[in-house]
């Protein structure tokens, strides 16, 4: 279990590294000359590429963060191993649901 989670956290970090760079460059680019919802939606609506980009970002971030949260809970709390696993899993599911909902909202249509 530990080696697999360790590998998964490193793999998701590897996936996120270029995504974060693109995301940051995009933010700087997007705020040039003001920021409006219309402008953003014009770029993202109907774009499969952005849906895939941020969909992948959400999945990687959710898994990466949940594994990290698991480590923190194991060290900093007295929760049982089962409670820690459930909490981390619930956190991953929550991040995936909220994240994918947001991706859907800005790219669908």
């Amino acid at each position: 279990m530990e080696p697999r989670l360790w590998l998964l956290q490193r793999a998701t970090a590897l996936v996120m590294a270029p995504l974060v760079v693109v995301h940051l460059i995009l933010i700087v680019y997007a705020v040039q000359g003001g920021l409006s919802a219309e402008e953003i939606l014009a770029r993202t609506r109907g774009s499969l590429a952005w849906a895939a980009f941020y969909g992948l970002f959400v999945l990687a971030a959710a898994l990466h963060a949940a594994i990290g949260l698991r480590s923190i809970l194991r060290e900093a709390t007295r929760l049982s191993p089962a409670a820690v696993a459930l909490t981390a899993l619930a956190f991953a599911v929550l991040l995936i649901l909220l994240g994918l909902r947001a991706v859907y909202a800005v790219t669908a249509g």
Partner: protein, 246 residues
């Protein structure tokens, strides 16, 4: 001479951890400031001249046995190899038992949990040859042997274990010394216990708990780098997991 104060002071104020029925407290002793004096000399002076009830542990006095480790000004150190000049500030020094271990009395800790973890990490050689077999020929320049040699000089003093944040937060963590020992055996081509050892160090309390703070490396009096050994175990475990062996 005290480096921080600029000139020698005739006496040092040593604040030393003393056990009490309720736990313990720091007690101040006034000790003469002598040239080339070590913290172990200070503790010995207190026990022989000021308070014979002070309990502490030492054996070789020359940095070979690893039994005199204590916490000096918050840092785990071999007291026999710690000159007073290096650590006394404004004529004061605080001497406590090693952290992360139960205290038996005063400056003496119970090392049992530390040694038990060496066993849990399978930190013992498993021979693959017998008395009648020829002596193994190990190439001293092979990558495996170089990795083992880099980590081999550990003398079980528990300084790294006392310095480790993760041991403090997660008391069942095997800790840097036991994992460092496991790493040397994982690189010993004569050893036959490597699959079982990898399972032992890749479990809940194993190498993946390490956050690579490197406090162990910073504190190790033998200048070993247990963090690097633990990183090696993580890589080995990852490869084994990908092959479906873990």
């Amino acid at each position: 001479m005290n480096s921080a104060s600029g000139k020698a002071q005739p006496m040092i104020e040593a604040r030393v951890w003393r056990s009490t029925p309720r736990g313990g407290e720091l007690v101040s002793y006034s000790v003469p400031n002598r040239d080339s004096q070590t913290i172990l000399d200070v503790v010995t002076y207190i026990q022989q001249r000021l308070d014979p009830g002070l309990a502490y542990r030492f054996a070789c006095r020359v940095g070979m046995c690893g039994s005199c480790a204590m916490t000096v000004n918050g840092q785990p150190r071999w007291t026999c190899r710690t000159h007073v000049d290096k650590v006394v500030r404004d004529g004061k020094v605080v001497i406590e038992p090693l952290a992360n271990l139960p205290v038996i009395k005063d400056l003496v800790t119970d090392m049992s949990p530390f040694f038990a973890k060496w066993q849990k990490a399978e930190g013992r050689f498993v021979p693959t040859a017998g008395r009648g077999d020829p002596v193994a020929r190990v190439d001293p320049a092979s990558p495996q042997r170089l990795a083992a040699s880099a980590a081999i000089e550990c003398i079980n003093c528990a300084v790294c274990y006392a310095a480790c944040d993760v041991v403090r937060w997660k008391p069942d963590y095997l800790g840097p010394a036991a994992l460092n020992r496991a790493w040397t055996l994982q690189n010993d081509e004569r050893d036959g216990g490597q699959a079982a050892r990898l399972r032992a160090v890749a479990g809940d309390a194993g190498c993946h708990n390490c956050h690579s703070h490197q406090s162990c490396m910073a504190a190790c009096p033998n200048e070993l780098n247990p963090t690097e050994s633990i990183a090696g175990l993580k890589r080995q475990a990852a490869r084994a997991a990908l092959r479906g062996e873990l």
